[in-house]
């Protein structure tokens, strides 16, 4: 090989260039590997949390990467959902990362001018000054707090604040209060905690419109129970019968869906009771030994009273019931036979919206069926909901100002007159604020509520807001109500804060969930509970002493100590440990797992919940806590309340009006839902029925696109809003699937896409309560008096439909 000078120089140059090139590439690759390693192996931490999208209270595992929230999954240890979740749970990420969240406190410039940012110290000073000023002038009672759908210690804090500050006006605006027993259950059984329905063990479930699988108290918990109804070698197949004007998800999954004219559920229940009694199918032993008012009876004064049996047999003939409800006689008979022969059976008469103007008597009528088939206090039937052994907090220290303030009547009129049976009457609030009766409201705090969008009285609330000089909102978002506030103190979203949950719809166990913050706050927001404590501290005196905790975590720490001290139950654990504990407990042994409360507290935070699956009494006596010690078809408690209210107020008319419109004598205290007279169709011939989709969270979910995107498979729709019209009705009106239509009520009209849907009655128009912008169902719903919840009747509005 001959080497020339030129060749040598070229070779050296090429080698040097190649070396430089290779070196450069290697350097880049090294950087890439480092990046990749950092990206692929961030510090991943699972943090137990609690879903707050509905009253279900499912356990979550929040997946965090280097402290940032990246995913949601179900907590497999949590007894409520056992790792399963519904679509709503995943929307939490979009709540947290909503780009339109408020970044910090906002205040109005001038008299309700534009919002401007403000520091926390200044914002809290403004509130404290206003509260102190009102208190100083003896106007503490003119401060109102309007709360929405939440529970647990946040409710406790607000209640204590109202008591210590001196206002009777802590008002909850919601159509479902899961932590309270239904009024019908209080009156017929004397219970003070909600009842639990043992769905998993029942052989026949009869649901009167309770959306078990999509919108009731906990769709995941109910779905797990209903999934097991199919039967096994050890357990025969069970049957689910769902009565609902709309063929909902529950209706579609049920063994039998029974369409019914809205608001006539109580009449149907009495028809079923008639069939049970006539055919001798009811539980005679239970009725004879444990009920009062079934047969005619004579009181100590010698006055004779008609019993439930005779009234039902004489007034609720099946033809009458069938005509009123639209349910065929044969179906009524078959339901009664199923209910009596498939035992244990459970009848659910609790739903979110009211059953109509006769809501109390409807619920009483439905609950009577549980007594007739002897389902009270038995496995697979209706059980008592256990109370959590939480430590009682120290009593509120009211000073003279607070006592004077609390002595004023509530501004919403709850507990008096027409609303004598309710604890909150938000529907009456705007009218009373506008009228200044019994006194004007000088400050309003909005927590977890958005009445300007989600309340049937939203227009009246909007007017009332103009009369209130100082409105403070704690919403993390600039929703309709917050945008009318004077000051916004944005709360964390629920994954950024300490929280607890005390779910109350469970059968067979009690459960307390605890969650640490799963992610650091993204913005300059603060936990509203901490803000309340801060305000109390700044106000000083009795208010500060009543809320003397440093922060919300300390409140939870103080309350949960009772669970450790109770000597029962345990922090949730893996399945083998759980089984072992159950075996031991069944044999009467309970061994403490933790030596100190701090150890218990840490485990509670790391695993997510405490529960007690064996400590609940399952007996009939535990359920029957009335004056007679029996299930009362004739409610002596209701009679007592009416008599007390009459003595207090000197008139009876308002109560009688609230209980059905006319004095029906003894029938007021019996579960008798009157059969309405046949009404002419008039200008609004159709009935509006609103329902909740499984993807609709508390607050509407307008900022959770994943949920808006979830299709409603029964009508093949997503994103947009729609109205469901029966094909027969649509044909008569010349409406085709997908047409734009006007749905009009005496209150207003909205434009929606028509979806033809045969899963309803021809005279019913169904509208889903849907999140997102656009037309609002509350533009249609009249704020009709709701004497049993004080929220406003949702499904009694009549409408008409026409092509747009």
């Amino acid at each position: 090989m001959r080497v020339t000078r030129r060749g040598f120089i070229q070779a050296v140059g090429a080698t040097a260039g190649a070396a430089a090139l290779v070196r450069g590439r290697l350097t880049k690759a090294e950087v890439g590997v480092q990046d990749f390693e950092r990206w692929a192996t961030p510090e991943e931490t699972p943090v137990p949390s609690i879903c707050q999208q509905c009253p279900g209270g499912c356990g979550l595992i929040a997946r965090t990467l280097d402290g940032q929230l990246a995913g949601i999954s179900g907590n497999p240890l949590h007894p409520i959902n056992r790792g399963a979740l519904c679509p709503k749970a995943y929307g939490a990420l979009q709540l947290l990362y909503d780009p339109d969240r408020l970044k910090g406190p906002m205040v109005r410039a001038g008299d309700r001018g534009r919002f401007r940012s403000i520091g926390w110290d200044e914002a809290l000073r403004l509130v404290t000054e206003r509260l102190a000023e009102l208190r100083g002038k003896g106007l503490a009672h003119t401060v109102a707090v309007l709360g929405g759908q939440y529970r647990g210690y946040r409710d406790t804090l607000w209640r204590r604040f109202a008591e210590a500050y001196g206002t009777p006006n802590y008002i909850r605006a919601r159509c479902l209060a899961p932590e309270h027993p239904a009024l019908a259950h209080q009156l017929m059984q004397g219970v003070t905690s909600p009842l639990g329905y043992d769905l998993a063990e029942a052989r026949c479930i009869l649901s009167f419109g309770a959306g078990l699988l999509e919108a009731w108290l906990g769709p995941v918990h109910a779905a797990l129970a209903i999934a097991g109804l199919g039967g096994t070698r050890e357990r025969p197949r069970a049957r689910l019968i769902h009565i609902d004007p709309h063929r909902s998800l529950t209706g579609a999954k049920a063994d039998r869906w029974v369409p019914i004219v809205p608001g006539t559920d109580g009449i149907l229940a009495l028809g079923i009771a008639n069939a049970l009694i006539r055919e001798g199918l009811y539980d005679r032993e239970f009725v004879e030994q444990h009920t009062f008012g079934f047969d005619d009876w004579t009181d100590p004064r010698g006055q004779r009273h008609e019993g439930f049996r005779d009234l039902v047999l004489s007034e609720y003939g099946l033809l009458t019931v069938s005509t009123a409800t639209g349910v065929p006689v044969k179906t009524i008979l078959e339901i009664a036979r199923d209910l009596a022969t498939l035992k244990p059976a459970v009848v659910i008469g609790e739903r979110g919206p009211a059953y109509g103007p006769d809501d109390l008597h409807t619920r009483m009528a439905i609950h009577s069926l549980n007594a007739l088939v002897g389902s009270l206090g038995v496995r697979g039937g209706v059980l008592l909901q256990g109370e959590l052994p939480l430590s009682p907090l120290p009593p509120v220290q009211q000073d003279e100002t607070a006592r004077r303030g609390r002595g004023h009547p509530r501004i919403d009129g709850a507990g008096r007159g027409q609303y004598f049976l309710v604890s909150d009457a938000s529907q009456a609030l705007p009218e009373r604020i506008l009228g200044g009766k019994p006194y004007p409201v000088n400050a309003l705090f909005l927590f977890g509520s958005n009445p300007l969008a989600s309340h049937p009285a939203k227009e009246a609330f909007a007017q009332a807001f103009d009369r209130i000089p100082f409105i403070v909102s704690f919403s993390p978002f600039l929703d309709e109500s917050s945008s009318r506030a004077d000051l916004i103190l944005p709360d964390h979203t629920y994954l950024e804060r300490w929280q607890d949950d005390q779910v109350t719809h469970l059968a067979g166990f009690t459960c307390f969930s605890l969650a640490r913050p799963a992610a650091a706050p993204l913005h300059q927001t603060r936990d509203a509970a901490d803000v309340v404590l801060q305000l109390a501290k700044s106000l000083g005196g009795g208010v500060a002493r009543s809320l003397a905790w440093e922060n919300f975590e300390k409140v939870l720490y103080a309350g949960a100590r009772g669970l450790f001290d109770a000597g029962r139950g345990y922090v949730i654990s893996t399945a083998p440990e759980e089984s072992l504990r159950r075996v031991l407990e069944r044999q009467g042994y309970w061994a403490p797992e933790f030596e100190s409360y701090d150890e218990f507290w840490n485990a509670l935070g790391e695993r997510g919940a405490w529960w007690d699956p064996t400590g609940l009494p399952i007996s009939r006596k535990a359920l029957l806590r009335t004056a007679s010690g029996k299930f009362e078809f004739y409610s002596t408690a209701l009679r007592q309340r009416v008599e007390d209210a009459e003595k207090r107020e000197g008139t009876r008319a308002a109560f009688v009006g609230a209980l059905g419109g006319r004095d029906r004598g003894d029938q007021l205290y019996l579960p008798i839902a009157p059969v309405p007279a046949r009404a002419e169709a008039g200008a609004f011939p159709l009935r509006l029925n609103t329902y909740r989709l499984v993807t609709r969270p508390i607050g509407g979910g307008r900022n959770q696109p994943w949920l808006l995107e979830q299709p409603a498979v029964h009508v093949h729709a997503a994103w947009e809003r729609w109205a469901e019209v029966h094909p027969h009705t649509a044909t008569k009106l010349g409406i085709k699937d997908g047409d734009w239509i006007w749905v009009e009520s005496p209150k207003g009209r909205i434009r929606l896409r028509a979806k033809l849907f045969a899963g309803t009655l021809p005279e019913v128009v169904n509208i889903p309560l849907f999140g997102g912008g656009g037309p609002n169902q509350n533009d249609l719903i009249g704020n009709e008096p709701d004497a049993f919840r004080g929220f406003g009747l949702l499904n009694t509005t009549r409408v008409k439909v026409s092509r747009a």
Binding site: G317, L318, L333
Partner: protein, 180 residues
């Protein structure tokens, strides 16, 4: 002679009418003048009252309790009053109108629930009656049964020939199917 022949002929006819059953079954009078038409017009189904037809071989007659589940309350008049009077007495003594020969086994459940045969196919247009029928509206013969069974069997065969998944059960025309 002539008269005796006429009398003789008449006697033979009378004998045949009475003894051989040519006059048919005697007319039945029910304790309640039940109007099927009125009840069907109220959207009741046949099996609302004759509920055993869906569960058992024998359709039976409705129990008094079932009548009273609709007619138990309020001031009643006429026939309804009579029904209410039976509440304390016991079952209404309905009289049987339809009766197949004792050697025929006719399971109602199989025909009503499994095969979906309309009640009127065998019982005639009961929904048009304002009063209970004194006699069966339709007399079933073995030809009627066989015609139905054979027609159904042919349909099933044709379906099978077309390769469609068989949905209907092949019907037996074997003697033992009914004469057992």
């Amino acid at each position: 002679m002539k008269w005796s022949a006429v009398i003789g002929a008449l006697a033979i006819v009378a004998l045949a009418w009475g003894v051989l059953g040519l006059r048919g079954a005697p007319e039945v009078t029910q304790p309640i003048a039940f109007p099927h038409k009125t009840h069907i017009e109220l959207n009741l189904q046949c099996t609302s009252c004759h509920d055993r037809a869906e569960k058992e071989a024998v359709a039976g007659r409705p129990r008094t309790a079932l009548c009273l589940s609709c007619h138990g309350g309020g001031e009643a008049t006429g026939e309804i009053k009579k029904v209410q009077a039976f509440e304390k007495v016991g079952e209404i003594p309905w009289k049987r109108v339809w009766r197949l020969p004792p050697h025929v086994f006719f399971p109602h459940r199989t025909h009503v629930v499994v095969a979906g045969v309309k009640c009127q196919t065998c019982h005639g247009p009961m929904e048009t009656l304002d009063r209970p029928p004194g006699r069966p509206l339709k007399t079933l013969t073995m030809d009627d049964c066989l015609a139905c069974h054979e027609a159904r069997a042919r349909r099933v065969e044709k379906t099978a020939e077309r390769g469609v998944v068989k949905t209907a059960r092949a019907l037996s025309t074997d003697c033992n199917a009914c004469h057992r």
